[in-house]
Amino acid sequence: MKKKVLSVLLCAAMVASMAIGCGSDKKDDTAGKTDDKKTEDEAKGGDVNGDGKLVVGYISKNIVDPFHAPINDYAKETLDGLKKDGTIDDWTGVLDGETDANKQIDRADECIAKNCDYVIILPAEATASDAAVTKMTDAGIKVIVVNSKTDSTDDVAMAYVGPDDVEAGKMLAQWVIDNVPDGGKYAHCQGVIGNSAQIQRGQGIEELMKDNDKFESVGDFPCEWQADKAANVATDMMNQYGDELKAIICDNDDMSSAAQKACNDAGRTDIVCVGVDGNENPLQMVKDGEMGATVLQDGPGQVGGAIDLIKKAINGETTEKEVMIPFVLVTKDNVDEYLKK
């Protein structure tokens, strides 16, 4: 029965490695506590947990969608640069949040395990991802929330750097009002419901459109930020309302560009589609004159703002609690400026 013995050994090895780990863990804990006190005294320095190393964590929202890809690239470039010039000792690399609060909480665990001093997080969800933020702040990490807030960001995070999504929503609505002077029916393609960007952009749109007698909403359609779903909404609504449909407002411009394409393909270039983000494809459409405008969210600018805050904190300067990075309305006139990026 050698195999039984061996299997027992195997299990024992697993348990032992965990037990040994537990043993050393206690030491870490006590060390952590004394260090905490130290940081109170030496709060000026960048080394928050006082382990002699300055480590930055970066938890992305995801690594696949076209809005987040350039943000992650910019973060990677900047943080690699900081590591090279010695401002920080190390960073975690781009941790993949998979647009899943559960996974972001797991990544937060890893930032804690890695003894990070600062962590930049782009939350997947307002409520669900909050545990990731509080978990890290409880562990003494200074957390900078970027792009959208979690529930307790204002209370526990070191700072929030983000766009003003209500403002973005208003910009969308204003563009439609300006470009469809006679008014008419419009559709609204929403992002993932419950997402703070979705809620706030919707709020901004609502604020302007509600009081405008010329415009009538044909409905809010949950499209989960996805282009193909928005394109379907566009074709369906064209079928249903024909010429009465004048505009499609989308919570992001992946959706608005897809919707515009569907309209153009149906010969309805008159329908005004507009959305937020400033992804490459919509920008190209603006440049080619296929779409009127898009509202650019300066994602890299946001994460850059967060990294600037960390640099300030390391230098002992005071940091702002909230930094708003403005949106830009991109039309044919200024599109070249942003497309180059």
């Binding site: 780990g21 870490d28 190390d90 545990a131």
Partner: protein
């Protein structure tokens, strides 16, 4: 070919092959742990080990259910949607209706188990393809979740509910306790009960099982009901972890569960699996995420690595189990 009597680790060739067939995955796990531990000191800490065990508890519940489904020659694709439904039911009952936490959890488990029963009943009674059935019920279940939650995220502020994920008994967080208990129960269920024997028999050769007096209806329905129940537990842990009830969670969670099953030696042809194997598969998946993040390997390479590890492990398994024929 090598000689008959060559010995490896003191076992003769055939025995070694059988051992590796059964526990080879453990060796892979061990090697993986050692490599990561050498490369990254923070991996070795007890708190990190506890982290991983806590993290994998959600996938573990789903994987155990999945291995039952796969072993009966099926698959349960509805588990991800089950997470969402459980989450939304919990959110509505606790936050909106003011139910007590145990009652809400019980209700959520009853609902997820009921969906498991529905899956199993459709599959066994009408001899439908499990893939098709669970692919369809998955849509219905997610739709229900959206209906229950109204498409909105429902925050669950009750601190004692969050405790389900964070409370510790000694140094051990509660999800690990759940993981240990469920692992033991599943081990007993599959390897020490009649039901387990029926699951294996039905999965390996359904006709022979029928001819031996095994009820396909009871066995398959039971298997999918347990899968639903475990998805319910996963959903409770998930919701307690995120303190928010949402209908969009759990998308794609089948993948990791199936991966863990396959790594653990579960055969898609049915009839073959072991709970210790699946547990090791679960930890391998957990360590791939955790280890690579700690080492600082780019996220882009992680899913590739996961895919490569699964194919590698399955290939290794096949080589080890290669039969002379």
């Amino acid at each position: 070919m090598a000689k008959n009597n060559s010995k490896i680790l003191g076992m003769d060739r055939e025995k070694f092959r059988m051992f590796m067939g059964k526990y080879g995955i453990g060796v892979i796990l061990l090697i993986m742990m050692i490599v990561i531990a050498v490369m990254e000191p923070s991996f070795r800490t007890g708190s990190n080990m506890i982290n991983v065990a806590t993290q994998v508890s959600i996938n573990a519940m789903i994987a155990y259910g999945m291995c039952l489904a796969i072993t009966t020659e099926g698959i349960d694709l509805s588990v991800g949607a089950q997470l969402a439904l459980v989450s939304c039911v919990l959110g509505t009952l606790i936050s909106n209706k003011g139910w007590s936490i145990p009652m809400a959890c019980l209700a959520a488990l009853v609902i997820s188990t009921a969906w498991g029963v529905i899956n199993g009943f459709l599959i066994s009674k009408f001899n439908m393809f499990p893939f098709v059935v669970t692919l369809s019920t998955q849509l219905i279940i997610r739709g229900l979740a959206q209906l229950v939650s109204g498409g909105q995220a429902i925050p669950i502020t009750d601190a004692s509910f969050k405790q389900i994920y964070s409370v510790k008994i000694g140094p051990i967080p509660f999800p690990i306790i759940v993981l240990i208990i469920v692992t033991i129960l599943m081990y007993l269920l599959l390897h020490w009960t009649k039901f387990g024997r029926y699951v294996f028999a039905v999965g390996d050769n359904m006709q022979a099982a029928i001819a031996s007096g095994v009820s396909i209806l009871k066995t398959k329905t039971g298997a999918y009901a347990i899968s639903g129940f475990l998805a319910g537990i996963a959903g409770i842990i998930f919701t307690a972890k995120t303190a928010s009830a949402q209908s969009n969670i759990g998308v794609g969670y089948e993948t990791d569960a199936v991966a863990a099953c396959v790594l653990g030696g579960t055969s898609f042809a049915g009839g073959v699996t072991t709970i210790p194997g699946v547990l090791m598969g679960i930890f391998i998946i957990g360590f791939i995420y955790n280890g690579m993040n700690l080492i600082g390997i780019d996220s882009y390479y992680q899913s590739m690595t996961k895919g490569a590890v699964i194919i590698g492990a399955v290939l290794l398994d096949m080589v080890m189990n290669k039969k002379n024929s």
